[in-house]
């Protein structure tokens, strides 16, 4: 088990295309860090550089106190789980899991003990004699995890391990990965494009975009205090609503939307937002903070009317889509509130949870 340190790491391909543009990241021992971002953001490249499968153009990667830039993958003492499992098709499950140990010339008894132990932990004891083709997707992924666990490496690397599984199995395996990390608290770097996976698994989430790190933080911190418009929009499902607005002084600081709706800024934020008066801004508000109205609203809640476009009942909640001056907006309302397309729905906007984004810098202020 070890710290992983990424210092000013750059990955450039031929033609000067930079996939990773000088990122810094410190991952402490036992930590579960998830790299998340859209396709092409550089998250997988970063993981592969940690693994030693991609050369580093500039910068340094440290694992357990050593620079590993020029260390081949086999000497980095890492284990990796791939999206397509990458099990050796001609070997039994046992041999798949034992392969790394055999290459490292472990004694037979030790190999058997470790494989049995890992198989028990992952509940695949009864599959040890089978070939990978006789396993389901979930079982294959468990074997792939077993292959990583038996090695007892310094660092676990996961490259979108759940992407090939169906939705139900994905949720199940997600829990198992989390349980595995609780049992074997090895430093873990996990790559996914699924922000829910990132939020549920990570001690810290690293949001990447266009080869740079947008923000690093605990899942709740990213959710409630996004640093940039990208993070605000990427974390959370359904995504945060973004409404063009302007700050105006109209008997107190107010947010004025494009359609003229004015909503008061909560008193505790007036000082923070004051300097942006008159500038072009974007109001960010999550769907769960635009809900049905109640008889007694708490302070900071503003009202607005929405002309319902589409209603999506989800069971435990209902999503209502509507437009504010041509911009699509989603609200999350109580499933017991009945509404339909074309109806006017009074909404309560909880401005205590508003985010204000400066358009010029795309940063949340």
């Amino acid at each position: 088990m070890a710290n992983v340190s990424i210092r000013k790491v750059v990955k450039a391909y031929e033609g000067d295309v930079q996939a990773v543009k000088g990122i810094d990241l410190e991952i402490v021992d036992h930590e579960f860090v998830v790299l998340v971002g859209p396709s092409g953001c550089g998250k997988s490249t970063t993981l592969r550089m940690i693994a030693g499968l991609e050369e580093i153009t500039a910068g340094e990667i440290w694992i357990g106190g050593d620079v590993v830039n020029d260390v081949p993958p086999r000497d980095r003492d890492i284990a990796m789980v791939f999206q397509n499992y990458a099990l050796y098709p001609h070997m039994s499950v046992f041999d798949n899991m034992a392969f790394g140990l055999k290459l490292r010339k472990f004694p037979k008894e030790e190999i058997k003990r470790r494989v049995d132990e890992a198989a028990k932990m992952l509940d695949i004891q009864m599959l040890l004699d089978r070939k990978p083709k006789a396993l389901s997707g979930g079982q294959r992924q468990r074997v792939a995890m077993g292959r990583a666990v038996v090695r007892n490496p310094k660092v676990f690397l996961f490259d979108e391990p759940l992407s090939n599984l169906d939705a139900k199995l994905r949720v199940q395996m997600r829990t198992e990965i989390k349980k595995l990390h609780q049992l074997v608290p090895t430093t873990t770097v996990y790559v996914t494009h699924d922000q829910i996976e990132a939020m549920t698994l990570a001690d810290r989430v690293v949001v990447m975009n266009h080869g740079v790190i947008e923000q690093v933080g605990a899942p709740q911190e990213l959710y409630h205090n996004p640093a940039t418009r990208f993070v605000a929009g990427f974390i959370g499902s359904p995504a945060m609503n973004f409404l063009p607005c302007q700050l105006v002084d109209d008997g107190g600081l107010k947010v004025q939307l494009a359609d003229g709706t004015k909503m008061a800024v909560p008193p505790q934020r007036v000082d923070r937002y004051g300097p942006f008066k008159g500038k072009k801004m974007t109001l960010g508000i999550r769907p769960e903070h635009m809900t049905e109205t109640h008889d007694s609203e708490k302070p900071g809640v503003q009202r607005m009317n929405a002309k319902v476009d589409v209603v999506e009942p989800m069971g435990m909640e209902t999503l209502v889509h509507h437009f504010v001056d041509g911009v699509a907006v989603c609200s999350r309302i109580d499933p017991n509130v009945h509404t339909g397309p074309g109806e006017i729905l009074p909404l309560a906007v909880d401005m205590n949870n508003m985010h204000l984004i400066e358009d010029a810098s795309n940063r949340v202020v």
């Binding site: 499968l53 086999r74 284990a79």
Partner: protein, 299 residues
Amino acid sequence: MSGASATAGNMPRPKAKVGSMERQQRIALWVSYIMLSIFVVIFLIPPFYMIITSLKTSVEISAQAGNPWIVKDPTLANYWELLTNAAFRRYFINSVWVTMLTVTISMTIAILAAFSLSRMGFKGSQVLSTGVFLTYLVPPSLLFIPLFQIMGWLGLINSTWALVVLFPTLAVPFCTWIMIGYFSSIPRELDEAALIDGASYPQILLRIFIPVALPGIIAATIFAFTVSWGAFLYPLAYLYSADQATLTVGIVRELIKGDVFAWGLIMAACAMAAAPPIIIYTFLMDYYIAGLTAGATKG
């Protein structure tokens, strides 16, 4: 749900359409059978005639009367005569050892070349792979004059060693091409997983690629075998003494004297020469097809 699907299952089906589908399928099947039968007959008549003739005596072969497609008094005398003939045994042994060496050398070179071309990703590997394939497109009959000179310099004319050096030059390009296709169909994550597991490149090749690519290797091996076993032009041109001849050339030289054709012996020799490839193909045909089509279907 189950109720709904049960209802759907009891719904009357549009019969006419299903019938027309079945009829179309039946017609296609019949056409396939007829075409295949024609080709089977065309391709099987020569070997059938070869075996029939090999079982006849010279008297029966040269008899004007009777049906040439039927054996009246079957005999294994032709086979026995060949098996007890030292020269024929020599040709057979020559063919076997030339083929064994050709296959071993070709496959070793082809596997190593295909692995490095498809996986090591060095500069120019793409151009090289194309080049390897292009050399296969040069007809062997064009090469045998320049190659004759090279063999002359090497002092290998009239030696089976000439074939051991030559045949791989014909077999390696195609074998490498088959193996590149097969290796490329193996997901890259597999070697990456092995690299992380602690394997070196030779270990990846020996413990992952070769077992996984076995169908491709068998396909390429069969090809190399066929190149060597069935070759006629090169042994004819490069080997002129009887003790160096291979089976294909030996049969012609030994059993055709001037304008006298020992048909019974020729056919028995041909049947015996054809036996090894037939046996190999029969047992490994599935692998052969899987190996040749792997690159195409697995992408």
